[in-house]
Each structure stands twice: as structure tokens, then as C-alpha cells.
Symmetry: C2
Subunit: 196 residues, 2 copies
């Protein structure tokens, strides 16, 4: 069940979340468990839904012209995942969102979330906070593409996500870095030989 420790983790989502706020949100949310490999959202989906990942790991991926899956995003426990296409662009999802581990989520309908926030000004500040954090992340990621080489980008990724490196196949990490798995393998070898 949900314990206090866990609720504290949810606090991290915002700065001034009270127990009451969390309760209110949890009432509206449904808890759900998914085995590895489940699609939370598929291409073409339109249902506005937001997932708080209580436990587990989810990847977003697109399929390119050649039919290859390209992973664009990884999200783990205590993070939020949703289709930016559906929520921000008001269009059907262009990505798949798939669990990479047994995953537990609280999921909540986006419009319902909106109305809860509207009735509860305190939560509004929270939404702002969450949005800002997502924006921070994405801005940093853009800088890493513009300012760093693939090799530097990988080193940077490992430093920033030491846990993910051991939970996720390298081929997904390669995608995230904008390179091929073969190239990442060579980069890893290069780094290893430099260390000696």
C-alpha cells in the first residue's frame, strides 16, 4: 500500500505539497501495475492521461522510415510521463510508451487533473514547478547536443544517470544520445582504453 515514505517522494514533485494535496490527487488517480513490455500509450492514441511512475521504468520510442525503433526518452520511478503530442500538441501520439520493467503507476485523466488544479490554487504552483523542471531537463539536453560531441555526451549521460546505465540496454542509450548502438559500443571501448 501507499505509505508515508512514498508520499514524501511525491512531494519532490513540488515544493509546497501538503498531505491533503497529495491525498486529493491520489483520490482522483487510479493505481495500476503493468508487466515488462506493456504499452502505456501507443501511436495514434488520443486519451489525455498522465502517469506518475511509482515504481519501474518506461521508454518512449518512435519508428523511423526504415522501421527501426528509436528510443527518445526514459522515465523512471517518481517521474511523470505523458504523451507530449496528446497533451501539448493536441494531436494523436506519435510515439509508443512502453514499460521496460514491471511498473506501477498512478494514472490520472488530464482534464480531471486540470479541474482539480483549478479548484486548488496551491496545486497550480505545483504544476508550474513540474513544468519548469521538465523544461529545465529538455533545455539541458539540447545544450548537450549543441555543445558536446557524442563521446562527451555519453560521459555526461553516465554521470547524470548512473542508475539507468545498469537498468537499460545500451542500444536505448545510444538512441537517446542520437547515435547508433554500434557507434556507442566503439565509444565505450575508446573511453575504456583511455582510462588505462
Amino acid at each position: 500500500m501507499i505509505n508515508l515514505e512514498e508520499i514524501k517522494k511525491m512531494y519532490k514533485l513540488g515544493r509546497n505539497l501538503t498531505l491533503l494535496d497529495v491525498q486529493k490527487l491520489l483520490q482522483a488517480a487510479r493505481m495500476k501495475s503493468f508487466p515488462t513490455g506493456t504499452f502505456l500509450i501507443s501511436e495514434g492514441a488520443v486519451k489525455k492521461e498522465i502517469f506518475f511512475i511509482r515504481k519501474g521504468l518506461v521508454r518512449a520510442f518512435a519508428i523511423n522510415d526504415k522501421g527501426d525503433e528509436i528510443t527518445t526518452l526514459l522515465r523512471k520511478e517518481n517521474q511523470i510521463i505523458a504523451s507530449s503530442d496528446i497533451i501539448l500538441f493536441d494531436q494523436p501520439a506519435q510515439f509508443y510508451y512502453q514499460t521496460l520493467e514491471p511498473t506501477q503507476t498512478f494514472q490520472i485523466d488530464y482534464e480531471l487533473l486540470q479541474s482539480i488544479i483549478a479548484e486548488n490554487p496551491k496545486l497550480e504552483a505545483n504544476r508550474k514547478f513540474i513544468f519548469q523542471n521538465i523544461l529545465k531537463e529538455t533545455l539541458k539536453r539540447i545544450d548537450s547536443f549543441v555543445l558536446l560531441s557524442p563521446e562527451e555526451r555519453y560521459i555526461h549521460f553516465v554521470r547524470s544517470n548512473p542508475d539507468l546505465v545498469n537498468r537499460v540496454p545500451n542500444k536505448y542509450i545510444a538512441n537517446i544520445l542520437g547515435i547508433t548502438p554500434v557507434s556507442l559500443s566503439r565509444i565505450r571501448k575508446r573511453i575504456a582504453s583511455k582510462k588505462k
Copy 2:
């Protein structure tokens, strides 16, 4: 002076901005003109300020280990520019923000803007809208790095920013795409020869 036509352009910033809202903002903002080459914000700056670009063009750039300027962002008239480091990360600016054309801005202190928005719930929706649009842009840009080759990325950039292509030196565009100016020149040649 400021005319109705121009105010309508500011409307684009939000969905439900009224004349009164715009007036309120304009009262708090200072209009200022800068010649080409002016630094609106320099590395190390801490002043929380937001610029609405009324006319002109601004680039953000960092300086890498080798001492090269790397342009990471371009913003033009009717767009907003601010230091994400100062506003989002609460740290001194790590980039320079420099005008590339004679530029007119409305600039407003960020904390003052915050308080105006706090007193004016309608504006809050607007801020949300602006934030979402910036997030949209950055997410799309990340996708272009992950899913497209440099050549495809350039084609994509030209299609999305036909006006900028003729206003900005190619070397800045190359930076934005994460490649060198030399490489961009080759890509352009390659594309031109394909067209025949």
C-alpha cells in the same frame, strides 16, 4: 509608438489576452532599443529579466573549451527571450545574449512580472500558454537531434524558419544544428546537387 496592430501581435503570446492585460504589462515594462551587437545579458549576469522582442533578432551563445562561440538559440520579433540559467536554474547566466540586428524590446523584471501575474489570474493562464509553447519547441528540437541526420535537420530547419535563413549567418545555423560551419557548407552543396 505602440499601435493596435502591434498589440495584436502580442496577443499571439496568449490566447485570451485582453487589451487591458496588455496595457498592464506594458506599464510595467520598459521599452528599449539596442544597436546590432549589443549584449542584453552576459555570462555571469544574475538580474532576472525577461525581454519581449518587439523588433529585431537575438542569439544566445556559449564559449567552449577552445574559445569558440557556439550559438545555441535564435529568437526574433514577437518572441520572448530570457536567461534560462537565471530564471529556471537560479544561477548566473552561462550564455551571452546578443542582438544580431537593431533590436527593440520590452523588458520587464521577472519578479515584478510574477507579482503582476499573481494579482491577475487571467495572466496566469497566459504564462502557462507561453511556457507550453517554449516546451513544445524544445521537445521538437530534441526529437530532431534524435531522429534526424544533420542533413535532414538542416532541411527541416529551413522549412521551419525560412525567414531566419536569410537573416542569419550560416555559421550560427550550423551551431544550432550541432555541426560545424564547414560541414553545413558541404551539406548545402550536397542538397543543391541532388536537386538537379
